[in-house]
Amino acid sequence: MELFYLILEKLLLVGLIVSLSMVVAMYATWGERKVAAWLQDRIGPNRAGPFGLFQPLADGGKLFFKEEIIPLVSSKFLFILGPALAMITALLTSAVIPWSTPLHLFDRNIDLQVADVNIGILFVFGVVSLGVYGIMIGGWASNNKFSLLAAIRGASQMVSYELPMGLALIAVLMLVGDLRMSSIVANQLENGWHIIYQPLGFLIFFICALAECNRTPFDLPEAENELNFGYHQEYSSMKLGFYLFAEYINMFISGVVMASLYFGGYDIPFVNEASWGLNQNLLAIIGFVVLLSKAFFFVFVFMWIRWTIPRFRYDQLMKLGWTRLIPLALLNMILTAAIVLWLKK
């Protein structure tokens, strides 16, 4: 019986989180247009519903009813696998994120985390690096030179930026001493946010996150004006939608990951919320909202950057990754290790 409840609870949670990611991604497209418009002294979408709030629905509907085109010369199976993979990997990451403190319902403590695996953050990394297959397979299967070029670019970019990202992360792991996402957050509840100890690490992580999500200034795989939309050039209808959607989900998830790793997860800054004597469920919901707002802030910063700076040239991108970020990340790692050792003694 206990097992049944556990499975039910987890299934519900998975459903909730997946739909949450979808809704957030939908509204991120709306938000992106709004932010772009505001930064350019325009108003942005305002026709579909109040403040253009139904715009994502209209877009989704449009994508659904577009003609489905599969190029004759493409390898069909891989062509369909590409966007599916992009979407799946984008959604998988959310499984290990601790969304908030446990809820207490029906005499059960319900963890707001799908799986507290002991290699939590490694899982995130593994899945994120799988994401590159979505781009690579899609670009290769399209049988189009621009798509292929974009796929190669995307693959090498992601591989290069995963390195400094991982190195920046190692410093955090040394502070925590555990790979579990829940203990990473718990450590911050006790000792203060990691951003205080790891400002450089966060900066590196943030830059790499931009590159991993294919966001400007590192959106080379898409590069509208040189590669004709890159790897999703041959895609139409909802398969294109999946690619675009996966990007926004990735953005949201990386916002959540950054919040969890460096900004205390669901912690409210400067207060001890446990001392308020509030109901456990209420606290959990507050924590969840706090985490969401942190993630949304990062999503906003992503957009803000996109509408501020132009794209890097490809050699600049590689140079930045290999000759700047990796040495910096290494330095950060060694310094952290030394300080941790010194304090322990």
Binding site: W38, L39, Q40, D41, R42, I43, N46, L203, W304, I305, W307, T308, I309
Partner: protein, 181 residues
Amino acid sequence: MTQLTQRAKQVDRKPMTLLERIYLWNILKGMMITISHLFKRKATIKYPEEKRTFSKVFRGVQILNRDEEGREKCTACGLCAVACPAEAITMEAAERQAGEEHLYKEEKYAAKYEINMLRCIFCGYCEEACPKDAIYLSQTFAPSNYGREGFIYKKEDLLIPHPIENPEAYKKALGEKGGNA
């Protein structure tokens, strides 16, 4: 070298300073500029609800005028069609019959009068050519349409509302130009 304009700027080829090479600082400065635009007044005009005010000499869609009694002024002389550089105007003349004096001011009138808005370049020559003050360019522009046929404006589309039967609409259509000016 002689400068062609006042705006020419000397390109600075100094090597980048450390601050510039770190790049982050400059990105931050750029981001501050963009974020300041978040709070600026938006340039957008929400078109169908809000309209830009045109200048008094704006040349928009043509209007066929009537006199104070509501009689059509155009006498189908064809001078406007001749003057039109875009050949946008076509018309067919007809003779005024007895009992139609309240409809048409002159003995000859335009039974058919069409302007193709896709051809018209809104130069206003028709207005200048007209000896009867029968046509002038108003301060509205031709709204968008789904088909080309919709852009061929018939006499009914062009005629100003009747000044006695519908004085308010007449005044509005007349705009700031004043009919017989």
